[in-house]
Symmetry: C2
Subunit: 246 residues, 2 copies
DNA sequence: CGGGTAATTGACCCGGGTCAACAGCAGTGG
DNA sequence: CCACTGCTGTTGACCCGGGTCAATTACCCG
């Protein structure tokens, strides 16, 4: 049973036993529990640590002075919410817990030790950072060009695939704790319209979504509706040439 | 006269003479000229080099199967269009020239040599990558939450500030080579609506824009209209503690 | 001067927003 | 066990920001 972070990084490269143990050690170091709907970090804070999500869902969000709010990223177990990798002086966004969250705070020294001793992990963390940015670009496309039906479909497919990559799906089902208001904030729609669009998706047999559980009866069909191209997730084991030989 | 990249990185940290010379050397290594409106890199390509823009404007864009197109980033002199820093296997987006562009292709070996010998540059490149991602998040917010008037204002302010940081403004004026169609693709609006909104901005005395030249008579007022918060550009010399001591 | 790209305008329409009421359900305390 | 509270989801009526379509009008460049 591998940790979610290990599973995630292995989408890029196979890690050695020593690599995996190092990750496990770091994951157990400084664990923090955050209640649902609480902020994990605030805009204006000085970044203190990289947060590794161990359990639960979180998000990155930004807001405008008049209260409009945009969720710009979602985090699931195995995701690093790089609090800007300790280079930037000040957070320019919030990180908030959606469900109750268990996370590991990885300090600067630990991170440096980890990367110094484990070049494959360093590479894998780079991969992780690049993929995160790539996802952010896809979100810009999503919000900028897709209509409501495509946009919500796209988000659902993305989360399903990301959850599957860390072993958190069961068949064609996965947990989906976002409220319709959250979905609205993530897609740039209103909660009312999200509600109506979800009903359309259900009517068309593309999804079932109830009690915070999402079922996708026919993934290719939903992908199609979303114009989903998974190249931006870079899940195809691209660092194979670096694989540990054990 | 410092190169745009040096100027840009100095927003983060002061570089030593040796650092600057190393950057200059790399900037002169493998220079390529691309005509306006040509692609610099294509989706599906294997990334070959990091492209450093020396002159002209370029953009990163993604498109949907039915032709809808989203410009997700703009590049000006001094910007690195990391072609995924050579870790990812395949480009998930296009890079296109807006004007004629002169760029330097920085290969893997050169990049490694540069960072190995110049730790301050390594830090500065990290800063650059983080800021790029931060800008991407702000674009998601922009397209997701701001209305047309705010959205276009925001883009204009951002580009003005970025140009100013690399010495390419003159007073309250800067070059602005985007067509209204480009602006539309970058903001998720239609060209028709961009046209009408620009007229509103002109009527309100917030901008003058003609012959590819932008003038901002009252920057604070335009910032205000855009709900612009420049924290996401991280231009405040945050790596001061690393400054070269010469 | 001709041809092509970019900007502009008008008429009309629609996806999605707004407002407001209400229903379902979980948790909480008595 | 029940009443209360508050969040989440749902629905209807109506409206508006921005899209669509199509026709002109600059403008640029060879």
């Amino acid at each position: 049973m591998l940790s979610p972070l290990t599973l995630r990084l292995q989408a890029f490269t196979k890690l050695s036993v020593a690599d995996r143990e190092a990750i496990d050690r770091v994951s157990r170091s400084s664990v923090r529990q955050v209640a649902a709907r609480q902020d994990i970090a605030r805009e204006g804070d000085r970044p203190r640590a990289v947060n590794l999500i161990l359990e639960g869902w979180a998000c990155r969000y930004k807001s405008l002075p008049d209260g409009r709010r945009q969720i710009v990223s979602l985090f699931i177990p195995g995701d690093l919410c790089d609090a800007n990798v300790l280079i930037l002086k000040e957070m320019d966004h919030y990180i908030g817990a959606i469900t109750a969250v268990r996370l590991a705070e990885i300090g600067r020294e630990q991170l440096e030790a980890l990367t110094l001793d484990h070049p494959r992990i360093t590479q894998a963390l780079w991969w992780d950072a690049l993929v995160t940015t790539s996802v952010q670009r896809e979100w810009t496309l999503n919000v900028g060009q897709r209509d409501a039906y495509e946009r919500i479909s796209h988000l659902l497919v993305e989360m399903f695939l990301r959850l599957r990559a860390v072993g958190l799906t069961t068949g064609n089902t996965c947990p989906f704790p976002l409220t319709q208001t959250d979905l609205a904030d993530a897609t740039g729609l209103t909660a009312v319209h999200v509600n109506r669009t979800l009903q359309d998706l259900r009517r068309d047999g593309l999804i079932a979504l109830e009690r915070r559980t999402l079922t996708i009866p026919d993934l290719p069909r939903l992908k199609n509706a979303a114009m989903f191209n998974d190249n931006y997730l870079h899940l195809d084991h691209e660092g194979a040439h670096l694989d540990a030989n054990d």
